[in-house]
Subunit: 379 residues, 2 copies
C-alpha cells in the first residue's frame, strides 16, 4: 500500500515578478523572485490546484526528493503524493518559499540590486497579507484563477485564512491546521525572547552580518531551542526524554546532562547551521502581526464576513502553542457567517508539531475532506 | 486592620561557618558565610522558629525595609509581619540568602581566599540537599534544634521538603507552596535555554567575567525574560497586556511594539542590572537536580518514608510551571506514608507568581495552618 506513494524526483522552479510589490508597511519591492515546486498535473480547466503555505521554518520543498540529494525529502512528504491525503493523482499541488525566506525566494540574504549587497535588515517587514499578494501573482503566472484549496499548518494556516479574506473568489476550500486567529500575549512573548536572542547577539550587526562574514549563530540557536519547547507538548517531552541522564549520573557541571538538553541543543545547532536569522525575525513578526479582527475592533465574526470558501479547521489536543480553543474561535466566527465548516480536534501527543506528523486520524480527515473537494471537478 | 503590620526597620546579620562543607558533588567549601534576617522573638524554649527558604531570585530580605533604603521592602512582606499570615507576634522568622547566592552569602561573586579572586565558575554546583546542610548549621548557631515550620514557594518549597527528608526530627511542619517533586523535561528544557543564553554570551568568559570587568547582561536578560513567561499564566498575560500596542499602531520594525514586549524587556533589563549570572546558573541547576525519588527508582512514596513532619501543600490553578497536578503527586506520596497532610488548590489568575501575591484565600490558608502550629507551643 505504501509503495510508490512518493512524488519521486522533483526540481524547484523560479518565477520572477517585475511589477513592484507594495507591502503593508508601505515599503516597495520593485522586483522579486519566488522559488516553488509543483506536484501532479494541472487539469484542462485549471480547477484542481492546491496551494500549500509553509510555516515559520518551512519552504517550497514540500514533497519528493532531489536527483542530486535523494535524502533531502520534502517537509510534508507524508501528506503529499500519489494516493496520499493530498493526492497528486488528483491535484496539482504547489509549494513555494515565502517572500523574505532563505531558501531561494527573494529575502534578506538576496542581493539588493540597488546596493549590490544583501538586503539584510533592510528587507521589508513582511505580513501574512503581503505573502498572499505575492502568492496571487504566482497563481496568475500559472493561469490559476481559482484554487481548489489553499491550506497550511500554523503560520501556513494563517496564510490560508488570509486567502479567504483577501481573495474570497479565488479559493473554494481553505484548510486551517493548528493555527489561531491571532497570537496571544504569551505567544508574542515567546517570539520576543527569540527575537531578542538574535537582535542582541554581537554577531547580528544590526542585521548586516553578511557583510561582516559572520552569522548570529548563538541567537538563532537559542531562538530555535526555545521554539522547540513550544512546538512539543509537555507530555511528549516527558514520554520521550523524561529525566533521563545522558551518562546515567549527575555531572555537576553545565555540560549536557539530561537527554532533553542534548535534544534541544542538537536541534538548535542544526537549525542555526542553515537558517537565516533575518528570515527568522521576519517570520516571527508576521506571526505577531496576523490579526484579521484588528480592523473590526477585535470582532472575528465581522472579519470573516468577506470569506466565501468552505473550511476544514483542524487542531491537536496537546498543542499548547495554538490550542484547540484557538481553532474553535475560528470555527465560531466562520459559523456565524453561515459558511460551510468542518472541524476536527485530533487527539495527539505531539503538541503543535502534530501537524507535520504521520497520524492516521489526522491524515484520514484531510483525505476525506479533499476527496470531497476533488469530486467537484473533472480530472 | 492593615496598619502597623510591617516588621518595620530590619537589618541583615552575618554568620560565619568554619567547618568545611562537603557538597553532594564532592566539592568542599572550607569556610562560608550566610547572610540572614530575623523577625519576631525566639521564645524561651526556642520552639517558635520558622525558616523561610527562597526561590530562584529571592534572598534573605523577606520582610520590612532598611533604615537607609525605606523603599527596599522584603520580597514576602505581604505574608510576614505582626498579624500577617506568618505572624511575627507569634513566630521567630528567619530568612537567609542561600549559599551560592549573590546577596551577601558566600557565592560566585565572593572572593575565594585561596586565589584572592572571585569564585566565579569555580563555585561548586549546589543542590537543594547542600542548602539544607548549610541551613542546619545556621539553626545550630541560633540554638534551634527543631523548627516549628520550614516553608517556601517554588524552589523554596523544594528545600522545605528536603528538610523533612534530611532532618525529619528537626522540623514539625513543612509548607510546600507552588512546588513539584521534581522538574519535568519541559521544565528542564526552559532552564537549559536560559542557561545557554548565559553560557554563550561572549561576556560570560567561562564564568570568570568579573576579572574581565564585564557581566553577561545579554544572556541574563534573556534568561529572565524567558523565566517571566513561565512565571505568569497565559490568561494573566492576556488580561494585562493582550495585543495592546504601545503606540497604538504597528511599527514594522523590531523595536518594542506590543505592551507585553515592553514589560518583558523591562523585567529582563532590571534583573540583569543586579543579579549575578553565575548564581542564576547555580539556581537553575539546583532546580533540575532536585528529585528525592531518584534514589528510590522514581518512587516518591518511598522517598517520603523518612518524613515525620505535618504538611501543608498549596498549589495555584493557573500555575503551569508547577501545576496543581505536581502538588498532588506530593500529597499522594505523603498520604501513602500516613502523614498529616492538608492540601489547598487555590484559584488564582497569576500563574506560578501567585505564591508571591497578596491573595485572600491563599493567605487565609497559610494563616489558619500556622495558627494551629502556634497553638502547639507557648509564646
Amino acid at each position: 500500500m505504501e509503495l510508490n506513494t512518493s512524488v519521486g524526483i522533483v526540481s524547484a522552479q523560479r518565477a520572477t515578478f517585475d511589477t513592484p510589490l507594495t507591502f503593508r508597511s508601505g515599503a516597495v519591492l520593485p522586483r522579486y523572485e519566488l522559488v516553488y515546486e509543483t506536484y501532479g498535473t494541472l487539469n484542462a480547466d485549471k480547477s484542481n490546484a492546491i496551494l500549500i503555505c509553509h510555516a515559520l521554518s518551512g519552504n517550497h520543498h514540500v514533497a519528493g526528493s532531489y536527483a542530486d540529494a535523494p535524502k533531502n525529502v520534502g517537509w510534508w512528504d507524508n501528506m503529499v503524493g500519489p494516493g496520499k491525503p493530498i493526492d497528486t493523482n488528483k491535484f496539482f499541488v504547489i509549494g513555494l518559499n515565502n517572500l523574505g525566506g532563505c531558501h531561494g525566494s527573494t529575502g534578506p540574504i538576496s542581493i539588493n540590486p540597488e546596493t549590490g549587497k544583501p538586503y539584510g535588515a533592510s528587507f521589508p517587514v513582511v505580513t501574512v497579507e503581503d505573502w498572499v499578494e505575492s502568492q496571487v501573482r504566482l497563481a496568475d503566472l500559472l493561469g490559476i484563477t481559482q484554487f481548489a484549496a489553499v491550506l497550511g499548518g500554523s503560520l501556513g494556516g494563517m496564510q490560508a485564512m488570509q486567502w479567504s479574506l483577501s481573495y474570497p473568489e479565488r479559493v473554494r476550500h481553505v484548510l486551517v491546521i493548528a493555527a489561531a486567529p491571532h497570537l496571544t500575549a504569551e505567544n508574542i512573548a515567546f517570539n520576543d525572547v527569540a527575537r531578542n536572542a538574535i537582535l542582541t547577539d554581537p554577531d547580528f550587526h544590526g542585521g548586516h552580518y553578511y557583510e561582516h562574514g559572520v552569522v548570529p549563530t548563538r541567537g538563532l540557536r537559542l531562538a530555535r531551542m526555545l521554539g522547540h519547547i513550544t512546538y512539543l507538548s509537555g507530555d511528549a517531552m516527558a514520554d520521550k526524554f523524561g529525566r533521563s541522564l545522558r551518562s546515567g549520573k549527575l555531572g555537576f557541571s553545565y555540560d549536557i546532562e539530561f537527554e532533553i538538553e542534548s535534544y534541544l541543543r542538537y536541534q538548535g545547532d542544526k537549525f542555526a547551521s542553515y537558517f537565516d536569522a533575518n528570515t527568522y525575525l521576519l517570520m516571527t513578526k508576521a506571526l505577531d502581526y496576523f490579526d484579521p479582527a484588528r480592523e473590526f475592533e477585535g470582532n472575528l465574526d465581522k472579519a470573516f464576513a468577506a470569506a466565501r470558501a468552505d473550511f476544514l479547521v483542524l487542531s491537536f489536543s496537546t498543542d499548547w502553542r495554538f490550542s484547540p480553543d484557538r481553532s474553535r474561535e475560528i470555527v465560531s466566527a466562520l459559523l456565524h457567517n453561515r459558511l460551510n465548516v468542518s472541524y476536527g480536534e485530533i487527539t495527539s501527543t505531539h503538541g503543535h508539531d502534530s501537524f507535520l506528523m504521520q497520524h492516521a486520524h489526522y491524515h484520514e480527515l484531510v483525505r476525506a475532506y479533499l476527496a470531497r473537494v476533488s469530486s467537484e471537478f473533472s480530472a
